[in-house]
């Protein structure tokens, strides 16, 4: 550990410690909000500094207390972890800045909870231990539960209640799955599980695998586990919706990639037909339902179901290309959703532009990040001879173009005289700029997608 390299515990510890500190402070004060923002920004920087190490032949890792593998908890930062952590932290940062500049935070604990959410997400992405994954997952979920009622109108509370109850079921399924994994394989360390799966009968892992699929299905919100999503995204505050759709849903896709492609590749291969069916159903369901919705946030909610369906369909494709596409879809989708949910909130010239950029990205129109992710899926589907899926991707693009731009044209802020807020405009503008920049120079996204998958158990 030299002075030059970033230790792995850096991005893990930073939000955690500062979230605890922030818990004491009144988040409605400007300086506290800025402290939270600075924390997330520093976490982002620390995570970014991990990039070169994560890409090296030996990704950084440590085991708590230097105990033997399995006894202690292993944390590991491979490319998949780092790119997910980067994007999620960036999304959280943008959302927190937005909420602060949009007129001040109205709850004492908001910054602290957002940073806790960040700590939970970073932990989820860096851990290499199934139960530790559950703990961090619960940290993120509980922060989200506490955040969901932010705003505290009857509408927000209703959304929060639905969110909490439905997602508790998901958490329960996940806990059960982790315990079953331990009972079956005798270890909680993911790498050891990979080894177990290669040596023993992988059919024994099918049951926990099914439960994991359903648990992450609830988080990611694909058909038929999505029924909570439209109501929650519509009725929660716009910032909260952005947090849930942009950052928290990443747990779902990451979990499926980590447990599916890394820990239990045999089970993933076994589940492929199912994933294809579920993916196709979500794509169709989300795109068709988004068409007739008149509330923009509901349109966005259904669009995110389509997005989830695309990710699932990508996972269902055999070979590495599909997994790469899933990573790219998840990363681009995360930024898209955040930009969309935030941009539709206040209005103003910049927000309008940001909305259209993010909508183009969601529909897969170049030059945006979303285009490359959809292109990847299309490429993978065509390479597998999966014309039907390719057709669905095309259809989903067209339908989301219609529904998103219908909503865009219907919105009040399209007219003159919409409130123009410099700060909020700047946040959404920055997000849309990131989307366009990635669209113009896709190499980082493409490399992230390719290399994130390269080290996973399924392809080793």
């Amino acid at each position: 550990m030299t002075a030059m390299t970033m230790p792995l515990w850096g991005p893990l510890l930073l939000p955690w410690v500062l979230a605890s500190v922030l818990a004491f402070l009144d988040g409605r004060r400007a300086w506290v909000a800025w402290l939270g923002i600075a924390t997330l920004a520093a976490t982002l920087v620390c995570t970014a500094l991990l990039l070169p190490q994560a890409w090296s032949a030996h990704p950084p890792e440590f085991i708590t207390g230097d105990w033997p593998v399995g006894v202690g908890i292993r944390m590991r930062a491979d490319p998949l972890s780092v790119v997910y952590a980067l994007v999620s932290t960036a999304v959280l940062l943008g959302t927190l800045v937005y909420e602060h500049v949009a007129g001040g935070i109205t709850s004492r604990s908001f910054p602290s909870l957002v940073v806790f959410l960040g700590a939970g997400l970073t932990g989820v992405f860096f851990t290499s231990d199934a139960f530790n994954f559950y703990v961090f997952f619960e940290l993120a979920m509980t922060s989200a539960f506490a955040l969901a009622s932010y705003g505290e109108t009857a509408r927000n509370l209703r959304a929060a209640f639905t969110f909490v109850v439905v997602n508790l079921m998901g958490s329960m399924l996940f806990l059960t799955a982790v315990v079953m994994l331990y009972l079956t394989t005798g270890t909680l360390d993911m790498q050891s599980m990979v080894a177990w799966g290669q040596a023993q009968d992988p059919y024994a892992l099918v049951v926990p695998g099914t439960l994991l699929l359903c648990a992450f299905g609830v988080k990611l919100g694909f058909f038929p586990f999505h029924f909570w999503a439209p109501a929650v995204y519509r009725d929660a505050g716009p910032t909260v919706a952005a947090l849930l759709a942009g950052a928290l849903a990443n747990i779902g896709s990451y979990g499926l990639l980590r447990f599916g492609a890394d820990v239990m590749p045999q089970v993933l291969a076994y589940a492929r037909p199912l994933l294809e069916v579920l993916g196709a159903a979500s794509i169709l369901y989300g795109s068709v339902l988004a068409l007739s919705r008149r509330d923009t946030r509901e349109v966005l909610a259904y669009a995110s179901i389509t997005q989830a369906g695309l990710i699932i369909a990508a996972l269902g494709l055999a070979g590495g290309e599909g997994l790469c596409a899933a990573v790219a879809l998840a990363l681009a989708g995360s930024v898209d959703k955040t930009a969309l949910f935030l941009a539709q909130d206040r209005g103003g010239e910049r927000a309008r532009r940001a909305y259209s950029v993010a909508a183009f990205s969601t529909a897969g129109v170049p030059p945006t990040a979303g285009f490359w992710s959809k292109a990847w899926l299309l490429k993978a589907a065509l390479a597998q001879g999966h014309t039907l899926l390719a057709g669905l991707v095309v259809l989903a693009s067209v339908l989301s173009l219609i529904s998103l731009f219908r909503a865009y044209q219907r919105e009040q802020w399209l007219r003159q005289g919409a409130a123009l807020h410099r700060g909020t405009g700047a946040v959404v503008f920055a997000l849309s700029l990131a989307l366009v920049a990635t669209g113009l120079w896709p190499e980082p996204l493409l490399r992230a997608g390719r290399d994130a998958i390269a080290g996973l158990g399924g392809l080793r």
Binding site: A19, N132, S143, A146, F225, L414
Partner: protein, 759 residues
């Protein structure tokens, strides 16, 4: 990298114009136009250097690079895009202030228009110079995006918003199809680079499906039947947009794509025949509609559909005149669009039936547009004459039927062009104020170029040949000259003029009848199909939404029931041996089993509990029995913790019940005991699957677990209590995380139930 210079200059126009516009709104157009001219000059210089390619690294992960080409085809189209672009930007400088005033918008919005127009120009230049399938699509969609913004420029006007959406959806949808085709080809040939693709296609032809996909994209862009209906609607845009996008740029992009990708289409005769049919169909439909349309811009829009139908026919026939046809058509059509824009601005009228005899008030405009109209109608001494010349030349080689079709088409063109021009400028005199000079000058310039091309056709031979050879990949022998003899082309031209003149002279006799017929026919056109489809989808969407789950209970059930069913299915289909082991029960287990039975009894009793307090007590009864189970299972730490947690919980519940208004509780109670049948079924499925899944999991215990290792290590960790060692030391991170969960929950509680006065 000299090849980049014109592209970079074209790309720089829009930002420069924006900066200039921030300084002074009027300056943006001038800066943009001069940028376009500079780019044009650079391009001209480039073209003298002969063909070249430029490859820049871009995304090596996918093996992509930025590939640009400089050949006759790209040169021709780029010159067209840049020159018409520069003129239109200048024209819009004169057009826009008036337009904005009419719409009640501030004058500074003009800058946005110029910037968008120049961005479109840049996208177009990019489209014609890239040499890579993927980049072609990217540039194509760039034009789609900018055109959406341009058509919807009057964003307060519902009609133009709807038109913008329609064009976005149609061109966007077809270009996604194009992309699917491009992706198929990219996978088939292992590269997106066009020269390599062409090279490999020579040995293994492209699949028909991919070619059809590519063609669909091109047809949508070029507004060919059956996608043509977006173009007339797009006339809601300000006139400079129509005159640029819908004459020389956007619609040209589709035909350009087919010309660029011609080597792929050349061997696919079936696809080419299909394109041929669509070309003739578009020609007919466009021309007929142009004959009866009343708003001038619509006449021109239908004419555009028809004219690109000609171009499509030429491409489908593999004629070397195809690029030239588009290039010759562009200035004529642009000039006519600009003319009608000027007329609308001066008179405030938009329909042929509302104006006449403007030649007296607008003599220069009348003269210049007469030249442009002559060009469109292919009269001699204009460049348009040669466009029909090459067209007829291509048809002659295919036989009399084609020749007849061409003759009728050309005749119709003359008829509607005459009708338009005469409708505007001929007939009863109307006096209107003079048009601003800047509105007329671009028309004059364009007309001058049309005339120059007609008088000195020799100048055009070289570029036309270069473009043709770039398209077909072989040297071209295209000739453009007047031949005063009785060759078939000339005869056809004369025949067409005669037919056109006849149709124009007798127009009063057949126009009403034709209009009625077309009205009836167009009711069953593709536009109707599009609307029906959209409407159907909307209905389906609403219907599905009505069906959708909205109750909290169903939302929960929709998670658990699929999971349960999925779990059961998985158990059913997975071939795992010794799926279920019943296990053994000894006398030592008696206490454990009794505690379990007690817990189950309490759990079952909760279902029957009427009062809330009883319910809470039963729940805690379940908890305490389970604590007993844990104690008998030799897990004293868990037992202790769960006893304490249960106690705390019971008290908290009691506290909550004390909080809730008793009337509300009673009311809720009465409701609560009426479960629905499906809730029972859901609970049953969930329970059965939980039972079977846990049984399956418990039947496959791994004997050698990490737990045994921790027992050995506990002593090393200075902790005689292994559980404490695991909690605090080995898996201490879990505990810290778990406690953070508690604190996060605490924060949630405090923010939900705030202290009074601190709000």
């Amino acid at each position: 990298m000299p090849l980049l210079l014109p592209i970079l200059l074209a790309l720089a126009c829009a930002p420069l114009a924006y900066v200039a516009g921030r300084w002074r709104p009027g300056a943006s157009a001038w800066v943009g136009a001069s940028g376009a001219v500079a780019s044009l000059v650079a391009l001209g210089w480039e073209l003298t250097l002969g063909p070249a390619r430029l490859v820049l690294p871009w995304a090596p992960t996918w093996g992509l690079s930025l590939e640009f080409t400089r050949d006759g085809l790209s040169g021709l189209y780029a010159v067209m895009a840049l020159s018409v672009g520069a003129l239109v930007v200048l024209y819009s400088r004169a057009y826009l202030p008036h337009h904005l005033e009419e719409k009640g918008r501030p004058a500074r919005d003009e800058v946005r228009f110029h910037v968008l127009l120049l961005s479109f120009m840049a996208a177009m230049v990019l489209l014609v110079t890239v040499d890579d399938l993927l980049l072609l699509f990217v540039a194509l969609d760039l034009t789609t995006i900018v055109s959406y913004l341009l058509i919807g420029y009057d964003r307060d006007d519902p009609e133009s918003r709807a038109a913008a959406l329609l064009s976005l959806v149609l061109t966007g949808a077809t270009s996604v199809v194009f992309f699917a085709g491009a992706m198929t080809l990219g996978l088939q040939y292992g590269t997106f680079s066009l020269p390599l693709v062409f090279e490999r296609a020579a040995t293994s032809p492209a699949s028909t499906g991919a070619l059809v996909c590519l063609a669909v994209g091109a047809l949508g862009k070029s507004a060919q039947v059956p996608f043509h209906f977006w173009l007339p609607r797009a006339m809601a845009a300000p006139t400079p947009v129509s005159s640029y996008l819908h004459s020389a740029a956007m619609v040209a992009a589709g035909v350009f794509l087919l010309q660029r990708l011609y080597p792929l289409f050349a061997p696919a005769l079936a696809v080419r025949d299909g394109l041929l049919a669509i070309g003739f169909l578009s020609m007919t439909v466009g021309s007929l509609l142009a004959l009866v349309a009343d708003p001038f811009k619509r006449v021109l829009a239908y004419s555009t559909i028809a004219q690109y139908g000609y171009a499509l026919v030429l491409v489908a026939l593999g004629s070397e005149g195809a690029p030239f046809y588009v290039a010759a058509h562009a200035p004529c059509k642009a000039a006519l669009f600009l003319t009608v824009g000027a007329v609308t601005q001066v008179t405030g009228k938009k329909k042929l039936s509302e104006v006449s005899g403007l030649r007296h008030s607008l003599p220069v405009l009348a003269g210049a547009s007469a030249v442009a109209a002559a060009g469109l109608a292919a009269l001699p001494l204009t460049v348009g004459f040669f466009k029909d010349e090459v067209f007829f030349h291509a048809l002659v080689q295919r036989g009399p039927a084609f020749m007849a079709a061409g003759l009728v088409g050309a005749g119709l063109t003359l008829a509607y062009t005459l009708r338009l021009w005469w409708g505007l400028f001929g007939g009863k005199r109307q006096d209107v104020p003079a048009a601003p000079r800047l509105l007329v000058a671009p028309v004059v310039v364009l007309a001058g170029s049309v005339l120059a091309g007609g008088i000195l056709p020799g100048l055009l031979v070289e570029p036309a040949r270069a473009a043709a050879s770039a398209m077909r990949g072989e040297p071209s022998t295209l000739a453009l000259a007047y031949h005063l003899d009785a060759r078939a082309e000339n005869l056809l031209a004369v025949g067409a003029w005669a037919l056109g003149a006849l149709l124009f002279a007798t127009r009063l006799a057949w126009t009403p009848g034709l209009a009625r017929v077309l009205e009836v026919v167009s009711r069953f056109g593709p536009e109707l199909g599009y609307r029906r489809l959209l409407h159907l989808l909307d209905r389906l969407s609403t219907w599905l939404h009505e069906l959708e789950v909205r109750d909290l209970r169903d939302r929960v059930a929709s998670v658990l029931v699929p999971t349960g069913l999925l779990g059961l299915t998985v158990l059913w289909v997975t071939p795992l041996r010794h799926r279920f082991l019943p296990g053994t029960v000894g006398w030592a287990d008696l206490t454990l089993v009794m505690a379990l039975v007690f817990a189950s009894g309490a759990a079952l009793a909760t279902l029957r509990a009427r009062g809330h307090m009883v319910l809470v007590l039963l729940i805690s009864c379940v908890g305490f029995s389970l604590a007993m189970v844990y104690a008998f299972a030799a897990a004293p730490d868990v037992a202790l913790t769960s006893v304490l947690v249960e106690s705390v919980f019971t008290l908290l519940f009691a506290g909550l019940l004390a909080l809730l208004p008793s009337r509300r509780l009673e009311r809720a109670q009465q409701e609560a005991q009426k479960p629905r049948g499906r809730d029972r079924i859901s609970a049953g499925i969930a329970g059965v699957s939980a039972f079977l899944l846990s049984w399956s999991a418990l039947s496959h215990l791994q004997a050698d677990r990490v737990g045994t290792q921790t027992v050995k290590l506990a002593e090393v960790a200075h902790s005689p209590n292994v559980v404490a060692a695991v909690l605090t030391d080995f898996r201490g991170l879990d505990t810290v995380g778990e406690m953070s969960v508690v604190v996060a929950a605490l924060l949630g509680v405090t923010s939900l139930l705030r202290l009074k006065g601190k709000r």
